[in-house]
Symmetry: C2
Subunit: 343 residues, 2 copies
DNA sequence: CTGTTAGCGCTTTCAA
DNA sequence: TTGAAAGCGCTAACAG
């Protein structure tokens, strides 16, 4: 705070009123070219930087938005932060990234506090805060715009950015079919997430289009966690209708399947193909043999932030996913299914 | 901004002056128990939240600090953010996390702008911004306290928190040597991080002490990301001087090496030992076969932030690293090195 | 196109 | 232990 100069200093140096300086600062029209230049020169000379605090207090917008997240995967959050950050850069806004604990009984209050204390103009919610009831309720009661990235529920409630889960699941299923698989186990996602239903639908649609029968025995329940994947893998691999490929609705469950496959001495993908959704790019790194649907996390964050900053009314944007094939998922060799490999 | 209540509303409801409310807000002494309770009740009733902007403008401290970083590894940044965040929580401060590009010619100006615009009370610098001359110069010229996490240069300049990178790399290298390895590939870190040089030094020192030759061909460049690890692994494993162990300067790169090893059908650690620095515990969980130097990143960030918030004068704290051995890294079996395993 | 005058919501003197 | 008044640096009406 050594020698901060203020708008008054600038106006004095430039020989104009403070209001004129303010106009220049905010890019208003109706400032003569000559005046504008004089003011800008003065600002430069004094290294003038407008106080955000003062602008907030005087005006009605802060130029700040908040990103609220509950940190699950570093990679996921990194992508989200970068996406939001880039959009803010482009709009000359500041980003306040605030972690919360969606399990905390006080989350709603925390968010309310954050918003009123900092005067942010809007809020970006990333999963799983997107579906955290206390937070949504707090935000709705505050008359502040917010956008959600991949909301699982209540799509109609706010603007949101998401991907086409049904198509993604369809793509992956079709890919597996093209590899020669005929019995493909599917592990559902958590029932509270809209995406789970969508993915199941996509799976069925692909089977249907390929003329393959839908077998209920090849669908296992799941809750998006590692243990669900383990349970489902046991169900499939020890059951009567043994699939040659297992498609999990997210990467944690796919990890569970891989773990079981490994324990049983099965090689992936020679003995069993495992596919999953990939939130983070991490899964791909960790398990190169995993073929995944890559979710465009960063792009979604960017788009969501853009939507918020542009003040778009209730807009929904669907972004494209990618199917990322890492290892060649070998066509099924039924003989191999029973052999006990080394590895 | 629907119905924000202000300090005046509170004072009216509580039947006291605004100054008294302010006193309660700031935890001043000299407020009678009775008055304090009345005020607190009024605040609660009105869901009062003090405007940060107003407090900044009126007072001389903002209750905000900035964390400035240049995002190289998501894991690393996640840990840094969490550490800073926790320290802020404890001190009731707000954290502004701001990415910058240390290569940008304007980075100094950007930081200067950030500081004066937001009125932050202090700044935490994480590597490699810790050693970014334009930023350091800008900060020094502003009379604002700042603390550095793992600075590579000018230790005496500011308070800092760091670990002994050379010793850590030395420890790991010595460990690998003790396991019987004689050819140990080393993957350097990003050149903008001073720690990279330290680690290379530690690697060389350990070799030297053990009487092993330093072979330039066993040092690969790296940029702290997954792809660097992949590239380096290819370089080593397909090159003429094939090492029996690869030591990566961070965990993202170690992951890349593991991925390649897997693709090539090599078992770790039977065919190839892989070691790395580790910002989180995640890498260790995912790859139990990985031996790592655990960097107390989060702890360093926490300590640095604490130092800043407590206004400690020129303090340096060195935190201890740990060598975490996960799987028994089998002594080298040269025969295995050329065999192409199934797996 | 430009200037004047009130505040925004708080903290800080200075009194009581 | 409490209160009254004067700003902090800016923007928002209103004038000119």
């Amino acid at each position: 705070m050594s020698d901060r100069s203020n708008i008054k200093d600038v106006s004095a140096l430039a020989g104009v009123s403070v209001k004129t300086v303010s106009r220049v600062l905010n890019g208003h029209r109706y400032v003569s070219q000559d005046t504008r230049e004089r003011v800008e020169k003065a600002m430069q000379e004094l290294e003038f930087r407008p106080s955000v605090a003062a602008r907030i207090l005087a005006g009605n917008k802060s130029g700040q938005i908040a990103l609220i997240y509950d940190n699950h995967s570093p990679y996921y959050m990194n992508q989200v932060q970068m996406g939001c950050w880039e959009a803010c850069q482009a709009s000359n806004s500041r980003l306040l990234a605030q972690p919360v604990d969606v399990g905390d009984a006080m989350v709603g209050e925390q968010v309310r506090g954050l918003v009123t204390e900092t005067h942010v103009d809007g809020v970006v919610l990333s999963s799983p805060v997107t579906d955290c009831a206390p937070v949504l309720k707090a935000l709705e009661g505050m008359d502040i715009p917010f956008v959600r990235i991949s909301p699982g529920t209540n799509h109609a409630m706010t603007s949101s950015v998401f991907m086409d889960d049904a198509q993604a699941a369809d793509d992956m299923t079709s890919y597996l079919i093209a590899q020669g698989h005929r019995k493909i186990g599917f592990i559902r996602g958590h029932s509270s997430h809209m995406a789970s239903e969508e993915r199941l639908f996509g799976y069925r649609r692909a089977l249907d289009r390929a003329g393959l029968p839908f077998e209920p025995a090849l669908v296992a329940p799941g809750e998006f966690d590692f243990d669900s994947g383990v349970a489902a893998a046991h169900l499939f691999l020890n059951g009567p209708t043994r699939p040659s490929a297992i498609f999990a609705s997210n990467d944690d469950m796919a990890a569970g399947v891989l773990s079981v496959a490994h324990d049983m001495g099965l090689s992936v993908p020679q003995d069993l193909s495992v596919a999953g959704f990939d939130d983070t790019t991490l899964a791909r790194m960790v398990w190169p043999q995993l073929t995944t649907i890559h979710q465009p996390t960063r792009e979604m964050a960017f788009a969501a932030t853009q939507l918020l900053l542009q003040g778009a009314q209730l807009t929904h944007r669907r972004l494209q996913h990618d199917l990322i094939e890492r290892a060649s998922v070998a066509p099924v060799n039924p003989d191999l299914l029973s052999s006990q490999d080394l590895s």
